[in-house]
């Protein structure tokens, strides 16, 4: 499907183009926003008591920016939408109650702008070599000039720039603090969408614009991505094991999960890319549910530190059960969405003749069991701290949307037609070349 802005036919005008890949992403982003917003109302009322109008306006701006990145078929348009969504994101993160939110937003701004500017340099090189900015047109013209150093540099700049945006290890340093101090609603939304969209843009450029033959044969991209993915999986999970602030714990776990997605892509097989996209979809579901559960805990207790939730599972059983169930999905227990994507990842690793990857996937899943278990243990098996106010169960306006999110994790673990089918169709489109 293709829409031409102002009726200028591409490659002269800006084109919006929807195919199997970005249709799934657009569905994911709008779906996450749809299911999170009912939950957000109560949570935002507590955390941002004043000036909610601009706050929601910024949120809608970020949402439209992310949708724009997903749908556009024009390379420069991606940059513009990337900045629209990023700028509103910086402002949203700065809304956090803790003053450290300001610092986190500032650091994210610096790193994010460097990333976006690197991406812009890459696009500039591509334009210099081909004279076009339309992605489909770029894909047609690049093979003629692919041996030039400029095109190699363009790919490198684009991958590094987007690597910053998608928090690929070791470019993830902005992420933990930005997630930890943002308002809970924003954390849940960003964790489920922002890094996913950056990963989509990377896939789009690696596969559609540059073609896999160039990206993976002329450049050692597969080896680089695989190394960074594994390093991210191990390091992210490792740090998460010792983190006491639960929002930071989940943020480091996000770094690890981005590793799984990139690992799938770095196998460069249709099955591997499908597993990566599937994990992208499922991880958005789990993290939306987990951060929504944390937001609910914060709403009742006023803290998300491990020491202060001790014993609270007995007082807020519905909230903590939701957290534990979403955690099962993160670990990858059968019947959950997390299981399907890890299953496909393992199969893809076997097919690609790299069985040793399974060991790493299993090992990092074990670490995930450990860090989710710490929360469960603290919530149910530790005594409540002396003198702490005993919370009641959270209000229904938070619990109902939260449980809908948790239920989605199980629904997509059992009925996999939409996510697995969508991911496989997307992978076929990407590997097959022309969009």
């Amino acid at each position: 499907m293709s829409y031409h802005f102002g009726n200028w036919p591409p490659p002269f005008g800006i084109e919006y183009r929807v195919d199997a890949v970005n249709a799934l992403l657009a569905l994911l982003i709008s779906g996450v926003a749809l299911f999170l917003l009912p939950w957000a109302k109560t949570s935002v009322n507590l955390e941002i008591p004043e000036r909610q109008g601009p706050f929601y306006a910024l949120f809608l701006l970020a949402l439209s920016g992310l949708m724009g990145i997903t749908l556009t078929g024009d390379a420069f348009n991606v940059f513009v939408f990337l900045e629209i969504s990023s700028l509103s994101t910086y402002a949203l993160i700065a809304h956090g109650q803790d003053r450290r939110a300001l610092k986190a937003a500032f650091r994210y701004l610096i790193m994010g702008t460097i990333g976006a500017t690197f991406f812009l340099i890459g696009i500039g090189f591509l334009y210099a070599m081909t004279g076009t900015l339309n992605m489909a047109d770029l894909a047609e013209r690049l093979p003629e000039v692919r041996d030039s150093n400029v095109v190699h540099a363009a790919l490198a700049f684009i991958v590094v720039g987007l690597g910053l945006k998608l928090a690929l290890f070791p470019l993830h340093l902005w992420l933990p603090n930005a997630y930890a101090f943002a308002p809970n609603f924003i954390t849940a939304f960003l964790a489920a969408t922002a890094t996913k969209v950056a990963l989509y843009v990377m896939l789009r450029f690696i596969f559609t614009v540059f073609s896999p033959e160039f990206s993976f044969t002329a450049m050692p991209l597969a080896a680089v991505l695989m190394t960074l993915a594994i390093a991210g999986m191990v390091a992210g999970s490792w740090v998460a094991m010792f983190e006491v602030n639960l929002k930071r714990l989940l943020a480091y776990s996000s770094v690890a999960q981005v590793g799984y997605m990139v690992l799938g892509v770095s196998l460069v097989t249709a099955a591997g890319v499908a597993a990566g996209i599937l994990h992208l979809f499922n991880h958005a579901l789990m993290k939306a549910a987990l951060f929504a559960a944390l937001g609910t805990i914060y709403y009742q207790i006023g803290s998300v530190r491990l020491t202060e939730i001790a014993g609270m599972g007995r007082h807020m059983p519905w909230t903590f059960t939701a957290f534990a169930l979403a955690g099962l999905s993160l670990i990858g227990v059968p019947l959950t969405a997390g299981f399907t994507s890890k299953w496909y990842l393992v199969i893809a690793a076997l097919d690609a003749g790299q069985p040793w990857l399974i060991v790493i996937i299993m090992a990092t899943s074990l670490l995930a069991i450990y860090y989710i278990w710490r929360v469960v243990e603290a919530a149910w098996f530790h005594d409540t701290p002396e003198g702490a106010a005993l919370p009641n169960e959270a209000p229904l306006s938070l619990l109902v949307p939260l449980w809908v999110l948790v239920a989605l994790n199980f629904y997509f673990g059992l009925d996999t037609r939409l996510n697995v089918g969508g991911a496989e169709a997307a992978a076929r489109t990407l590997i097959g070349g022309a969009p």
Partner: protein, 121 residues
């Protein structure tokens, strides 16, 4: 001749490195923003240089001119400049809020003023 012909691009690379170095090395947040601006400007010059055709005129239609420069990079950079201005204003607004909250703009003083949550960057 070849070396001088690429004069613009040397300027771009030098400015880019000055900008990146400023972002990394300077502790003051406002100086980091300035570095960011220099970094972005270098990319603008890169794009504008791409559009220049030697001996060509400005891309405005008039008699007696055969060769025009490529206007598209100019338009792109106009957009990018707007984005850059927006980024700078958000960054400065954040810097003002940080100064209100912490009473300092220096990276070293901001760091380590909290507990363990604050350790990384």
């Amino acid at each position: 001749m070849e070396l001088l012909g690429h004069y613009n691009y040397y300027v771009v690379v030098i400015l880019m490195m000055i900008g990146l170095y400023t972002i990394i090395a300077r502790g003051n947040l406002v100086k980091k923003v300035i570095g960011l601006n220099i970094f972005q400007t270098s990319v603008f010059i890169l794009f504008i240089s791409l559009g220049k055709i030697s001996g060509a005129s400005t891309p405005v239609w008039r008699d007696g001119v055969e060769v025009y420069s490529n206007p598209l990079p100019h338009v792109l950079i106009l957009t990018a400049i707007v984005v850059g201005v927006a980024t700078t204003s958000v960054a400065l607004a954040l810097a003002v809020r940080i100064h209100e909250a912490y009473g300092s703009l220096d990276d070293d003083e901001l760091r380590g003023s909290h507990g363990p949550d604050d350790s990384i960057t």
